[in-house]
Symmetry: D3
Subunit: 315 residues, 6 copies
């Protein structure tokens, strides 16, 4: 039987709009807490947007998503999975990033995740902009490159921006491949669309064996077929799942910095996560939720539902 | 020929943004009005949200929907039905609920609807949260249990909330079955989704013969097939139609208290109502429209379009 | 030297937009916590609006104010007081109110505050609508009636609403006087304005010796003079401070359910709290902050600044 | 004793957020209604913004102000006046303007007001942009020029705009003087500010004897002193009161098309109306409330409070 | 090789949120500019909404769309077309319409477009309400009637509004057919839906051979099949493309004056433009974008993506 | 007579909502333009917020302020100054900052301003966060330290943030004093308020002779008296004026990252600029306008009015 310490607060005891908002109303178990090493899946916030080249805001993502996540209940509606009973889940808090120094922040993020790894905790991250994934991968791929299933409207494979900027939210996976954190032949990017500067990112993908599923292909084939291919590409080895909320059409997820029209709807946004069934998820993130551009809060609520679906796949 | 008294004000006489907003610009015929007994379909507001366990706001629904409903014109685009010429329709006003007393409010609502029933008026209700349906059903089912076609993302079949609260917006149809207002074997719930506390509501449905169509089944089969089954379940006897706006995906209907992602789109939201063709509708409601969470007003406009579709089915 | 356990998280360690939001980034010390009895001033949320007769929303107040309160720093700009070093302050969490039962909720609130009183904790409350003050006073005035300095645009002294409703946000202080929780001769209400139903509340005030300072008098005399009178009225005995955010002009505090135009500006809103210097504050509250009507969040930020001023007076 | 037919619906019978919104919950008595000739003060909407040269929106003003006006109660807080008992007040509905033809609309407006005049009704108008005042004055000044007390940040005295446009919201009072509807020597404009195209309007004012009180003078002298002068200028003859909501500082009234910073606060916005005491008000208007630019609705609520103050002066 | 003068500013040189916003960051080449006659495709704003019979706002469309259009990059994601290298594109500025005179404005618009035509420039227009199309067609159809592919939820074929108003945003194409600007047999209208006043517009269409594809037919057949028919109807002769943003479902495009629920999603909104391949586009417009009703700006961003798709078809 | 090239577009030729928005509708004269050296006052945007330690957004300031600035007309309402006729004013465009590198951005800013200085242009800057002032001062103080009149709610004199970050929006003037760009004895900071981390900034001010006028002192003495002192402190030597929009109370200026309640109202916000009369202004800036937190756009409009007042002082 599961440990009551790790059970979320029930909406029948304390109304869901009440109480201090931790992720999914889980206990707050920061590094140093006496139960830290008992955690199996750690929900971690990275309130950071220094890599943003366009509209900032994801630094506010973790707090808004903690708030929205108090709407999440105990049981998955289709599978019946009760994740909080199947694994010890906890809110590990936010990484103390440094908003004025990208390199320092990346070092702090990697250190935080390395500590979680050392304690045997699998991380489910709430960004932050997409650069967040890079320092996380530096911790998670310590023992060798991972595969990745990546939902996004952008490849984030650019070489650099502006005056040779190597670290922005448009470059994390280029760096991750270069640093040996990802095995490009086990990487699939799904949902890619939008007008482009040029084909430099696509050329890199092609040259390295990264599989790109454009939104046109996604809509033509449907989520189930695409996810079958994704499972095949990553196979039965450790895989990272990175979910940029701008994968979803901006009508469903307006609260993001660089929306691109014509994406999946909210139902498909969940279906693709259900299609991860059987994948060995070493860690996952949901990034680019930007509260200042989300006046009705719907983006955050979609994003926490995606988190819940991810969690049900991870436990 | 139809009675001009019951014709709505035309947008060619008075611009649609002008004038005192009654539902669909119909005449205001409250109880006591000399034409009350001539009304055939009565549009009634129930500005009430005391049953809300989460985010309040539906008490403001009727007023916002009156405002939005001035955009409705005279003729259905597909069937060509001109409902205001086929039946005497009127705005009966709002029930004078008591915002600080649930039992008193329910008594007032039932009394209002009983008076309408006595005058031979079929009601089309604008909520209000979903608890509204219970006191309405108490009036409508005076002569025996009704069938029900229920569009929603939640079953609203829970036994109780918090400290044994029996009357909330999560319990109306449990009560209605218990009180013999609904025949559970003639009840179908369509669009159910979202993470759950537990399976208590589903167990009740199964034990009593209530048919639940999950959103997964809805998306797989499509609106037409599902509605064919719905028509079969309720058959040719009196049926209530209850339409919780959170049935629709929150991208299309953000203005509601407990949105659940992954629902039908707006076109499907209308298609299901068109699928009511031939059903004997004893009354209908559209509930849970919450203006404070609807910054651009789109939810109300969708909801009044649903109302217009319902009205075309009722006349 | 002060106990580091009770120090808020510094914005130099963790950026102010980061981290799980407790009130003013203080430790979370709910009833039952091992440090509970060491707390001197307890910040308590009452997420409740069942007494609201107009626009609901204050149930969301505590969460939004926790979020906004992470902007509060350590030191008062004028007095130099560092309250978190002068007294052990903590976030005691939210009272688990029952959103569907007013009497049950009041009992729960009184029980929570009685426990805090028993532990020697002085409460600083975040509402909730103004009915919140009544069950709080039932705990605080256990040993005899208190004086009260009350900032508001409404007297909240009505006898009843609707069908004889005795417990709404328009009646708490009528009840409190009737129940002997307040000594009406030591009560002053400041900022009263707005069109009235009738003079029933003013008649009650006059008959019982409650001093009412209308907004016209407030603007004519200025905050300092009015507060001198307030201090004199309550004298050197235990006094409750109740601060309804609709005291302030709605340009400065739009996020409230029943705004009344023509109130004090934000500077005066702080000045009156500074005018409490020397008052023996048995407890205080800030109520009627309604996030759904506060699109830019400014009301919450003003309210937490008022809280900080109150806290500096209480330590 | 006053006629109950003309009493507004009480908030104790029907909550203020409920019911079909007429102005101040008064009866709807359009031209042709059997009680039309019994009305003494008629509240009339003119949903029109064809004269707007900048941001449109005031066509939506009457509806939003009807909604907000349900917050108005029965009695003035300072004078104790109960206007609905002192005069038969009613909502006469909206003028059916033609949104695509300025001349046709002006003719319709003048006709509506002439009918009200013929029935002995004094009008209190809700605009609409400021051009609204011109066709209203054409009806009201049928028997000779009126004086005017005009609150605004703009003089609205320009000769023409663009390609010689004579009828815009920047020209109504130039036309009114030219047409002999206003006696310029009995006209005072209060609150004038903002950067200017040139001095053409001020030159016209000076040449014709119109008194302009700049915002600098207003702030230096204060509302009471300025209003004493205003009363003297208009004297004891019939006077029109025109209140452009952009008179007030945009922090208090953001919902308007051409805001100008640095105006009076909300308290002063009411004080100037109280300063009309003793003026013979032939009619009054509140114009330029633009709901699309008023996300929190505060402008409308301020405007209806101004209306209530005006009404208390008119009865 | 293409002329660098006509290249847009790159996001790698100047961040996309920076700089003075011209359409798609193209050079500003107004009439009279020395490079005017070198322009091949001219992007023109018509900031005008005098034809609006419902909610105004499209006068603000061009500016908001210039702002949003700085997000557009250089290359089409599917076809790889780089339109700014294939044709000399420029922002020709806004037509100086007269907001208070419909006829004067139409004359100014026609004159501007005639000048562009004379310089050999094909126009891509940003409205403005839909009446904009009429004066544009007067210039473009100088040499004979055009075909038209028209995306909309309304036919805009009404005879007149109100008191016989012939020129509103509900009548442009009735006038265009009457004036011989459009060949009705080469006109197709796609996406038509919404409740109707009557069938007068449909009768006109039928009588003149205009093909109407209702939204029901659109959803049943899909974009590709419908567009194949559209291409066949207009054939290989000059064709105008008119894209009313209310063609798209309001969840994806809330920022418009007369939204109608149940339309295409954003992906389909782009697909139909891609289906124009091979059509001889004499000019195109995107109209009815209304910023005041678009709090998160998503409508404008969708609209500029549609513009980019149109541009890729035009070059 | 003044050069027509430098005249803004009139609202009588092109409506103020129309056209490509440059600052105050002035000509766009970027570096390299043939008229660059003829410019006397250059309006420059710095779309940059990398120094923000709290809520980001000012990178979007210049674009929103260009939009709002099209409302500015030609003539000052009090002084009658027509600045665009008295000096050649132009929009020099935005500095191409690098959003991912603080040092690179500062170098780019300084280079841009040095070029303007070399051309004899006095700059009026639109930020950007307050760190913007530092690289601007590096260019302007090339020949020796300047005095400064600084309007703000924060001193921005902190030594460092987080892990020793020296360059944030809380440190620019500490750096400027250290680098010899400002003469601290000729610096006055006006409006300082808000809870503090500690007294480190005040200690630095005191030790170096910087004069701080707290908001309490400001409200007690009034704008005119404070500005008389300010003029005396800076004397008749070159002075920089830095205007952080959070100087103003957040009810008047909500669109900023770190609002502090209790500041001046909008009228006082202009009065202090008028109090600069006679000061030798070497350059000025308006910073920290953050559009994502300004839903109704009022902050930008206030800020451009402040800019216009500054411009009238500079010409």
């Amino acid at each position: 039987m599961s440990d009551p310490f790790f059970h979320p607060v029930s909406g029948f005891e304390l109304p869901r709009f009440a109480g201090i908002p931790t992720f999914m109303r889980l206990p707050f178990v920061p590094p140093g807490h006496e139960r830290f090493s008992d955690v199996q899946v750690g929900l971690i916030g990275v309130p950071w947007d220094s890599g943003t080249t366009n509209r900032p805001g994801p630094r506010h993502g973790p707090r808004q998503m903690r708030d929205a996540s108090t709407m999440i209940r105990a049981q998955h509606p289709v599978s019946g999975i009760r994740p909080f009973e199947q694994a010890a889940c906890a809110d590990l808090g936010d990484v103390a990033i440094n908003p004025a120094d990208i390199q320092d922040s990346m070092a702090r993020i990697t250190a935080f995740y390395s500590a979680a790894m050392a304690a045997g905790i699998r991380p489910l991250t709430v960004g932050g902009d997409h650069l967040t994934s890079l320092p996380v991968l530096r911790a998670l791929a310590a023992n060798g490159p991972l595969g990745m299933i990546h939902f996004d409207s952008h490849t984030d494979l650019y070489h650099s921006y502006f005056n040779g900027q190597m670290y922005t939210h448009g470059t994390p996976f280029r760096r991750a491949v270069e640093e040996g954190l990802l095995d490009p032949k086990r990487v699939i990017q799904i949902g890619i669309r939008c007008s482009q500067y040029d084909s430099e990112d696509l050329d890199f993908a092609r040259a390295n064996g990264i599989r790109i599923v454009s939104i046109e292909e996604f809509h033509a084939r449907g989520p189930e077929d695409v996810m079958a291919e994704a499972r095949q590409i990553v196979g039965q080895r450790d895989t990272y799942v990175s979910y940029d909320i701008d994968f979803v059409d901006p009508a469903f997820a307006p609260g993001t910095g660089t929306p691109e029209v014509g994406g999946p709807n909210a139902y498909q946004a969940l279906q693709v996560v259900r299609g991860l069934s059987g994948v060995r998820i070493a860690g996952a993130d949901v990034v680019e939720v930007s509260p200042p551009f989300d006046p009705s809060g719907g983006t955050a609520y979609l994003a926490v539902t995606v988190m819940f679906e991810l969690l049900c796949q991870m436990v």
